[in-house]
């Protein structure tokens, strides 16, 4: 079994770890770095609970090898808050009641943050399309969508 020593940044911190070839990014986050905010749901790229940002783009971390992240910039849900101040998307989901059991929430937050970064003023349709890969079995999505809309509105308010 081959091992690889890789260096990357996670939530702004540089890390150097040695991983076996077949370790997924999800396993490395949870088991090597103890960043357990990222969840293991389906392990097949369908549920989105393991979504993280890899070089700014959301990916299912169950479908990425840890070794592929050598040199990469990673952001997990733990990296969204800035010095204890919640990301506007996090605050908005709390405000509107967009969190129930919470299992999908880390992935939803990452997908939402990535959406607002590439499209600060999404339509409801665009929000729903961005969340196709994040399954939620509690909320019925209505409040999640409302929270992302609110975060976008507040960001617009701050900028203008």
């Amino acid at each position: 079994m081959a091992w690889h020593t890789i260096t990357f940044t996670i939530n702004g911190e540089t890390e150097r770890v040695t991983v076996p070839s077949h370790m997924t990014l999800l396993q490395m986050l949870r088991e090597e770095l103890a960043l357990t905010g990222t969840k293991n749901g389906c392990a097949a790229g369908e549920c989105g609970a393991c979504t993280v940002l890899l070089n700014g783009e959301p990916v299912n971390s169950c479908m990425v090898l840890a070794v592929e992240c050598d040199g990469a910039e990673l952001v997990s849900v733990e990296g969204l808050a800035d010095d204890g101040r919640l990301d506007p998307v996090q605050q908005a989901l709390i405000d509107v009641g967009g969190v129930q059991c919470g299992f999908c929430t880390p992935g939803v937050l990452i997908s939402a943050r990535a959406l607002l970064d590439r499209n600060p003023h999404p339509t409801e349709q665009e929000i729903r399309e961005a969340l196709v890969g994040n399954l939620c079995r509690c909320t019925g999505y209505v409040r999640i969508v409302a929270g992302i809309k609110q975060a976008a509105r507040e960001a617009a308010h701050v900028t203008h």
Binding site: H22, N40, C42, A43, A44, L65, E68, G133
Partner: protein, 302 residues
């Protein structure tokens, strides 16, 4: 079935420095190594034990693999490691190959599309591949590095016509590395449509997928030629040749389109599975071919 354990079985990750090295390694380990792009299919297969490779050979970093090149005379070349979102967002592809954009947008979710590749979709040789049909009707060919006729190694072109042998099986040989897919310029005045029936409105694999491309052609009795490719209704991505002929021979009309759709239905050989029965797939082939061709015909001015 899905295995909810997060781990993959043991394998060695190999990252060759050159195409030659990749090809030589894959040839030397035939049957136990495979090239790896986005992994969105490969990791599912490895996890559920359908594939048992000892080596996973990453080729995404090799020269040209991440390039998209559009030449207004020669057409479009999409590197093997270009992901679906990059295809969807590319201005030249949006302008000249909207059918490919439409097909790519129907693939799974944003997260999956940031890893999944068009070349991987083709080489995976799933009958359900969403972007395969667009590449077929546009006359696509793969750029393949591998064993050459003279015994050495080099590049060759492999047309998609004849590429698929069965589910997961293609004409590629051990040691072949697909570096890109090339699409010629689309026919002048063409219009295309991809219709996908899934269990959900979005995100699912196709129960039936219909890709249709039509274009004016003075040499055709109907004044038009159509190219069709059907997903999930045969062991390979399927071209209903008789339906294409009907659409070029008879003057185009609602009746001719219905006749072509019936011919497509009669030509397919679908299976029963969790997503739908064979009979449902056959009937929906007829309905979706009719709908897709009608939509194309309307856009052609019919």
């Amino acid at each position: 079935m899905h295995n909810p354990r997060p781990g993959l079985p043991e394998f060695d990750y190999v990252k060759p420095a050159t195409l030659g090295e990749a090809s030589a390694f894959l040839a030397a380990h035939a049957g136990e190594a495979r090239p790896f792009l986005g992994g969105t299919d490969a990791f599912v297969r490895l996890r559920d034990g359908a594939w048992r490779d000892r080596y996973v050979v990453d080729v995404k970093h090799l020269p040209g693999m991440r390039d998209i090149h559009f030449d207004p005379d020669k057409g479009l070349t999409i590197g093997a490691a270009v992901n679906m979102n990059q295809v969807i967002d590319h201005p030249d592809i949006q302008a000249h190959y909207p059918l490919l954009v439409e097909a790519a947008r129907s693939v799974a979710s944003y997260q999956l599309r940031s890893r999944a590749t068009v070349v991987g979709n083709i080489c995976n040789a799933s009958p359900a591949g969403d972007t395969t049909g667009a590449c077929m009707v546009l006359g696509g060919a793969l750029h393949v590095y591998g064993a050459a006729a003279d015994g050495g190694r080099g590049m060759r072109q492999v047309p998609l016509d004849g590429f698929f042998l069965g589910p997961g099986r293609t004409v590629l040989q051990p040691g072949d590395v697909v570096t890109a897919v090339h699409l010629p310029l689309p026919p002048a005045g063409c219009a295309g449509k991809y219709l996908k029936l899934g269990r959900n409105a979005v995100g699912d694999l196709a129960i039936v997928g219909v890709t249709a491309l039509g274009y004016p052609d003075a040499s055709a009795p109907s004044g038009y030629r159509f190219r069709l490719a059907l997903a999930s209704v045969a062991p390979v991505p399927f071209v209903p040749v008789q339906a294409e002929q009907i659409l070029s021979e008879a003057p185009l009309s609602a009746a001719a389109i219905a006749q072509a759709a019936a011919a497509a239905m009669n030509a397919v050989a679908p299976i029963n599975d969790a997503r739908g029965s064979a009979r449902y797939r056959s009937l929906m082939t007829r309905n979706l071919v009719q709908e897709a061709v009608t939509a194309v015909w309307e856009r052609l001015g019919g």
